[in-house]
Symmetry: C2
């Protein structure tokens, strides 16, 4: 099996590769070729270096998608995107990368299939940003997508294209709407959602972290480990069971910031909790107030997708996966 990962240098891409390296049969067959692409050249895990080709390329540049698809990969993970803040700040770049790049990929697959039968699986990373306020208490599987960002609009449009190209038989697509990934590894960043991870990740290693919102803010979470699990499950799932509605909100954990902190206390004690510094930030509070807080993900759950059910699990997964099991 030839697997193509677009966006392979991103956090989820790298963790997906680590999972494949440690569990070679995870995608349901033997992988004999791996093509890894990102705007900066991705690094293949050592165990996969022998079968990997790495490339620095932007999917939205002319000819890139066509060249990638000419080698007819059997399975394609499309994880590449510019993030919400950048897509909002640079309208043209957002549409070019997040919409046109995706469409170029889908078109390249369709046109390759005109040369000789070709119907790869396409697993697409979407986002709960396809939803916009006001929300019901729990967003159900049939709630409409009325994004309030250009990023969310680009993801919602990509979802529609994915469904139509799948329905027409050009590929077998599935769209995975990720919850907010927590605990994001790495350094604190300027994303408005960063604090959800920062207030756990930093205190676990003895560093201070800033909390800009109240403890009663609710949000929707899954660990990086669960995110990888979603993509692996999507790669092998029987899509006949999914039917024509190919975009699924993934399961997650709806939790208050206060519940994050209580779990941190249980796992790492008061010493860790004391490293959280409260610095209310009205701008971040306003942005966060527009985000979805809870979902009823009946379809994805019935299809076998799984996420954490308590914040203690999310923190323990981070300690195992990022901190070698020790704090």
């Amino acid at each position: 099996m030839h697997v193509l990962v677009i966006g392979a240098a991103g956090m989820v891409g790298r963790k997906l590769l680590d999972r494949i390296a440690s569990e070679p049969g995870a995608l349901g067959g033997e992988i004999d070729r791996l093509t890894l692409v990102d705007v900066i050249e991705p690094v293949a895990p050592a165990a996969l270096a022998g079968i990997s080709i790495t490339k620095a390329a932007d999917l939205s540049d002319a000819g890139v998608a066509e060249a990638l698809i000419a080698s007819r990969p059997d399975m394609i993970f499309h994880l590449a995107a510019i993030v919400s803040g950048e897509a909002e700040a640079d309208f043209e770049k957002g549409y070019k990368v997040n919409l046109d790049g995706t469409r170029e990929l889908f078109e390249a697959i369709r046109l390759e299939g005109k040369k000789a039968p070709y119907r790869p699986r396409v697993v697409f990373a979407s986002s709960i940003a396809v939803f916009g306020t006001p929300f019901p208490d729990k967003i159900g599987d049939e709630f409409f997508t009325t994004p309030l960002t250009s990023y969310g609009t680009q993801k919602a449009i990509s979802e529609l294209l994915l469904s139509d190209y799948s329905r027409r038989g050009f590929f077998d697509g599935i769209g995975i709407r990720l919850p907010t990934i927590c605990i994001r590894p790495g350094k604190p960043n300027k994303a408005a959602s960063g604090f959800f991870s920062n207030i756990l990740r930093e205190p676990l290693v003895g560093h201070e972290a800033v909390l800009p919102v109240d403890e009663n803010v609710r949000h929707w979470f899954a660990s990086p480990r669960s995110a990888v699990g979603f993509f692996v499950h999507a790669a092998t799932l029987d899509l006949d069971k999914v039917g024509s509605r190919r975009n699924l909100s993934m399961p997650g954990l709806s939790a208050l910031v206060g519940e994050e902190i209580a779990a941190l206390k249980r796992v790492a004690g008061d010493k860790a909790v004391k490293l959280i510094r409260r610095e209310p930030d009205a701008t971040i509070q306003k942005i966060v107030a527009g985000w979805a807080t809870d979902f009823d993900t009946k379809r994805a759950t019935e299809l076998g997708f799984r996420a954490e059910t308590a914040f203690d699990e999310i923190i323990k997964a981070h300690i195992e996966d990022e901190l070698g099991g020790n704090i």
Copy 2:
């Protein structure tokens, strides 16, 4: 006010122009310039000929949108599309006309606004084809769009673009999801939905019509007169009241084929009903089974959009508007 109508040679476009001709203030101000565009050159109603420019042009061809927008129309009706059957038969043409053409228009407006402030109103003709089975008994305002045709996909994507461009302040957009228009004037055509109109329009003038489905088939209707009313209302509506969710399912009449026939009998007698010839057609029955049958259009109704509430009204509107009031 300079008004641009794209798709001005189509049925709804022509009827919109007739309405403006007979009611010059319908769009909320004096119209001093009217630009009428379609792939075949539209004809301006006599009363509007002095202020009209007519053009044959395809919005999806390079430079067409830019040239149209260079004259900075204040109000734009975008009614142009290829129909569902053609978009399904010719994948590339459907995306080019129905998606790229719309995006070219929206981009031309955005780029014109970079030269000097410009924020026209854009009234877009969408369709209930954005919905795909299975449906609830009544499709509510918050039901998700999972189209099962490429045409429906192109309309759903255009709706998302319209909302995002409106949110960003590039124009003031509103999307109007039309019910099936009945009674369509003109000759019987090969559209799968044609019979809904044929079985009324033809018997009213003494001609036979074919009914390919059972009388217990339910569907969602509005008259051409109501369709024009939707666009006129959308042109003048206070969009602050609409908020960020700019695409609205229009009110309509949910009725059985049997109710159409009963109304025909009340209006035109048994003689007309006897001209309906039953010729079951499994292909058409299957297509029609995938169509929405009823809606709860609370938002549009609260915003003042109105349609017929009985088939007798729909038939009488046709007799008044198309048959000079006589049968």
